[in-house]
């Protein structure tokens, strides 16, 4: 590693950042691949079936088989579509999903390196900004297909996503009232004290609203209106096939992973555990790895809840969905903000 020490700090910083970004993307995509498998396995268990079990032991190679299939299938572009947007939409659905993880601290330290890709002070605003760009992939997919079901699906999806973005943005304000910084590393520091410093216990209502909004933002049941197989035959991605179809799928699951990671960071203590000194930044390599492991374990736990809910709950009707977002969650979140502010003000 001599050559590494000879570089100036800027070059080292760039190299370390690139390595972190690359590893994060690879890990994210692997988690996505195995979440799809977990989804199928858990769904099978809930429905008293076996689920995929042919590719490898317990179907563990199923993601690889799916990927190969997606790449080798005919990449068909129907004649009636708008070609440029037909190509662009899958990329626009997937890229923001990969970008959202940049500010999330996935561990404390490995050696001298902080385990976050970009330690931005605007933290959560960056994430929400990127999430808001995620709408384009879906609305353009609907537009590109130039066909009725996808068009309706795309418009529905975008209206749903923008409606719940407000509830999502409002729900986390009390968290930042308490923490006093938008930087996600600071949010974790705030929760490091003990189990009951976790914001899920201090702000249970904020957590509940955030979870509901996250389900809607990622188009998961009970809010999977954009796909709604029975009425839209699959929604915005009907005309897509092969890898382009798979990319919408990957984007959706990557969004789900990012939402889980955000939930863990904002409300569930991030990489900390209140026992055995695991709530302080790691001094050793093993400690650093343990923190990354804790973070990943928490994220996987939340992902299982995502999947569990999907196979247990029926779908909302569209007007119920809009009512819930605009008439229930929004005033509730607003009341929570005012309540928290009044509490802090009265105490001061």
């Amino acid at each position: 590693m001599d050559w590494l020490n000879q570089l100036n700090p800027t070059q080292q910083f760039v190299i370390f950042s690139a390595v972190k970004a690359l590893v994060a993307v690879v890990v994210l995509l692997s988690i996505v691949a195995y979440t799809v498998l977990a989804e199928r396995k858990i769904c099978a268990a809930i429905q008293d079936r076996i689920g995929p079990n042919r590719a490898g032991p317990w179907g563990l190679l199923q993601p690889a088989a799916d990927a190969i299939k997606a790449f080798l299938k005919e990449d068909f572009i129907p004649a009636h579509v708008r070609k440029v947007y037909f190509w662009l939409a899958p990329a626009l659905a997937m890229t923001p999903a990969l970008l959202t993880i940049a500010v999330i601290p996935f561990g404390s330290q490995l050696g001298a390196q902080k385990m976050v890709i970009a330690d931005l002070n605007v933290g959560v605003l960056y994430t929400f900004g990127i999430v808001s760009l995620g709408v384009y992939g879906i609305v353009l997919a609907g537009y590109a297909a130039n066909s009725k079901y996808p068009f309706l699906g795309g418009i529905r999806a975008s209206a749903q996503m923008i409606s719940y973005e407000i509830a999502m943005g409002l729900s986390v304000i009390p968290v930042f009232l308490l923490v006093g910084s938008l930087n996600l590393s600071r949010v974790i520091e705030y929760q490091a004290g003990g189990l009951f410093d976790w914001l899920v216990f201090k702000q249970p209502l904020a957590f509940a609203i955030f979870v509901a909004a996250a389900f809607a933002e990622t188009n998961r049941l009970p809010f999977d209106l954009p796909e709604a197989e029975q009425e839209l035959a699959g929604g915005y991605n009907v005309e897509y096939s092969a890898i382009k179809f798979a990319m919408f799928f990957l984007g959706e699951y990557a969004n789900m992973v990012a939402a889980s990671a955000l939930m863990v960071t904002l409300f569930l203590g991030g990489w900390t555990l209140p026992w055995a000194g695991l709530n302080q930044p790691a001094a050793t390599l093993a400690g650093g790895l343990a923190h990354v492991g804790i973070f990943l374990a928490k994220v996987l736990g939340v992902l299982v809840v995502f999947i569990w809910v999907r196979w247990m709950w029926p779908r909302f009707r569209y007007d119920q969905l809009m009512d819930l977002g605009w008439k229930r969650l929004l005033p509730l979140a607003l009341a929570n903000v005012l309540f928290t502010a009044t509490f802090l003000w009265a105490r001061a």
Partner: protein, 166 residues
């Protein structure tokens, strides 16, 4: 590094901005809207280079992520085909060129007069904390005025889009 990034972002913003109004490849309004989104994203990059981090994030969140979604919705309601058939008019081109030239002359004069000797450090830190402090102490009245402005906009939206009010 910063200077290089500035020129890259500025050039990209200009190119995308040009494509919004006069795209030689496509007359599709959706393409124009998407180019405008890109322009706004590069502008956010410029804000970040100016160390206005909060503004950079908000630029993406509000302009690229909210206002442009409305634009897309509106475009999708209108008859796209008619817009695509419309050709550039010579009079419009000449008029637009003249206005652009006049604006350039004006701007050049202003910049020439106000040219700072050296790059001054930013007067306000661009962080959310610094901005919040300023907003809620010195600029409190404009902030409260914003709430009235938003209220007026909300009433306007409701009135405009509901044909038959309760």
């Amino acid at each position: 590094m910063q200077a290089a990034l500035f020129y890259i972002f500025a050039a990209l913003a200009l190119v995308c901005g040009f494509l919004v109004v006069a795209n030689p490849f496509s007359r599709n309004p959706v393409t124009s809207a998407m180019c405008l989104v890109l322009t706004l994203v590069w502008l956010a990059g410029l804000f970040v280079l100016l160390e206005a981090f909060f503004l950079g994030a908000v630029q993406i969140l509000i302009y690229a992520g909210a206002v442009m979604v409305l634009f897309l919705f509106v475009i999708m309601l209108l008859d796209l085909r008619a817009e695509e058939r419309r050709r550039l008019k010579r009079l419009g081109l000449v008029g637009g060129g003249l206005v652009a030239a006049a604006l350039a002359v004006l701007l050049r004069g202003v910049i020439h007069e106000a040219a700072p000797a050296a790059a001054a450090p930013p007067a306000v830190e661009g962080t959310t904390e610094a901005l919040g402090r300023l907003l809620f102490t010195r600029y409190l009245l404009p902030f409260e005025a914003v709430s009235v402005l938003l209220l007026v906009a909300m009433v306007g939206v409701v009135l405009l889009s509901k044909k038959e009010l309760k």
